[in-house]
């Protein structure tokens, strides 16, 4: 198996998503609150997996704009769950050594007195291994 194919398979496995179920209606992209910040749009994620272009996916800034708000998961008429694909891509990045999106050094300047623990904990989970 080629490495691209392998990565695509891994993404399907981690996410539990079958991209072939997508009918390309665009409801996920119509729903996404982060749409304008994303370079690869939610509805395009399935195509990248089908075309086995995981390289582009993992380098996409969209990974760090997704809020895990599950609006796309909730409204998808085909039960595709694009949000899970995005998270799988995120996982594939942060599970590699040295690829954390949030570095310990940058944290102090991001803090303010009101900031709840929950925010740090959540960001750690999504952005770091």
């Amino acid at each position: 198996m080629g490495s691209e194919k392998k990565q695509a398979e891994m993404m399907k496995e981690i996410s539990g998503v079958n991209p072939l179920k997508c009918m390309k209606c665009g409801k996920c992209s119509a729903t996404c609150p982060s749409y304008n910040e994303m370079d690869i749009k939610p509805h395009q994620f399935v195509s990248y997996v089908i075309n086995e272009d995981i390289e582009s996916l993992v380098n996409s800034k969209s990974l760090w704009k997704c809020l895990s708000c599950f609006a796309c998961v909730e409204r998808c008429p085909r039960d595709v769950k694009p949000g899970k694909l995005i998270d799988a891509a995120r996982q594939m990045v942060v599970r590699q050594k040295g690829q954390d999106y949030l570095l310990a050094d940058e944290i102090p300047e991001l803090l303010d007195p009101e900031l709840p623990q929950q925010l740090l904990v959540s960001a750690f989970r999504r952005y770091r291994r």
Binding site: W64, A71, E74, L115, Q118, L119, V121, S122, R125
Partner: protein, 268 residues
């Protein structure tokens, strides 16, 4: 009415009041919240990957502790509720995760999702009943126009959370009505505040919260209530419309006439 109670990390730090208001109100309503021993942080977000096990174990511990006592597990924070409820579903319905988590845990008896997970709002709705709650209100919040801010975590994915209609929820509105105030329904009440994005992308979250605030204000809300410390934090960062945002438990304590008691507790 005895429940196991999982407060979560933020309710011990930045959101002490969310917890204190809830406790004194529960007391007033005859609900006994027994905090489970040595609980650990749920992680704040549910690990979506189907191969994630270790990140779910703290939730399993809490769930198991409740099971041992034969009690339902009550949560207060939206995020904790989301994470624990979904992990519980995994333990109940996903064989692979159940087996592997149990292998880690080495419990005397395997845990298989037996515990019922309830958000405190669900306790009020389904166990006490909003009609009953209304009867216990000593200080009705008449004249207040309040917008419920649900956010994402309580509602979605609706099949797993089975909390309320994900697009047109009513539980917090009914809660507001029970307290004698007037709920304001506005379409952005289930839209995301930005969540954890506000750590690194402060602008994004701010824009989202502005839309929420604007919509709520446009429909006539005088304040917003929420169950989530992160939503509260993000909404308070909105620079446009600035409605006060408080925890739902604060209003509850106020209506039940026990607010001061709780405030004393927080200060102590």
């Amino acid at each position: 009415m005895k429940y196991s109670y999982y407060p979560g990390c933020t309710l011990r730090t930045k959101a002490k009041n969310l917890d204190a208001y809830a406790r004194v109100s529960a007391n007033a309503l005859g609900i006994d919240l027994e905090e489970i021993e040595d609980w650990q942080c749920c992680g704040g977000v549910y690990p979506l990957g189907s191969d994630e096990i270790a990140t779910k174990l703290s939730s399993v511990r809490a769930l198991h502790a409740a099971k041992e006592k034969g009690q339902s597990l009550v949560t207060m924070c939206s995020a904790c509720h989301h994470v624990i409820k979904r992990v519980n579903d995994d333990m109940k319905n996903v064989e692979d995760i159940r087996t592997r988590a149990n292998n880690y845990m080495e419990l005397p008896e395997p845990y298989a999702g037996e515990t019922e997970v309830l958000h405190f709002l669900e306790v009020l709705r389904d166990k006490i009943g909003f009609d009953e709650l209304k009867k216990k209100v000593v200080n009705p919040l008449a004249g207040k126009k309040i917008g419920a801010y649900y956010g994402c975590l309580l509602l979605r994915p609706s099949k797993l959370l089975s909390f309320d209609d994900p697009e047109n929820p009513t539980i917090i509105e009914d809660f507001i009505r029970a307290l004698g105030a007037e709920p304001v329904i506005y379409p952005y009440r289930n839209e995301c505040c930005g969540g954890y994005i506000s750590l690194k992308e402060k602008e994004m979250s701010k824009n989202m919260c502005e839309k929420i605030m604007e919509s709520a204000e446009g429909f006539g809300a005088g304040m917003l209530i929420t169950a989530c410390p992160l939503c509260l934090y993000n909404l308070n960062k909105s620079t446009g419309a600035r409605l006060p945002v408080v925890y739902f438990t604060e209003l509850l304590a106020e209506a039940l006439g026990v607010k001061e008691e709780a405030e004393k507790e927080v200060q102590a």
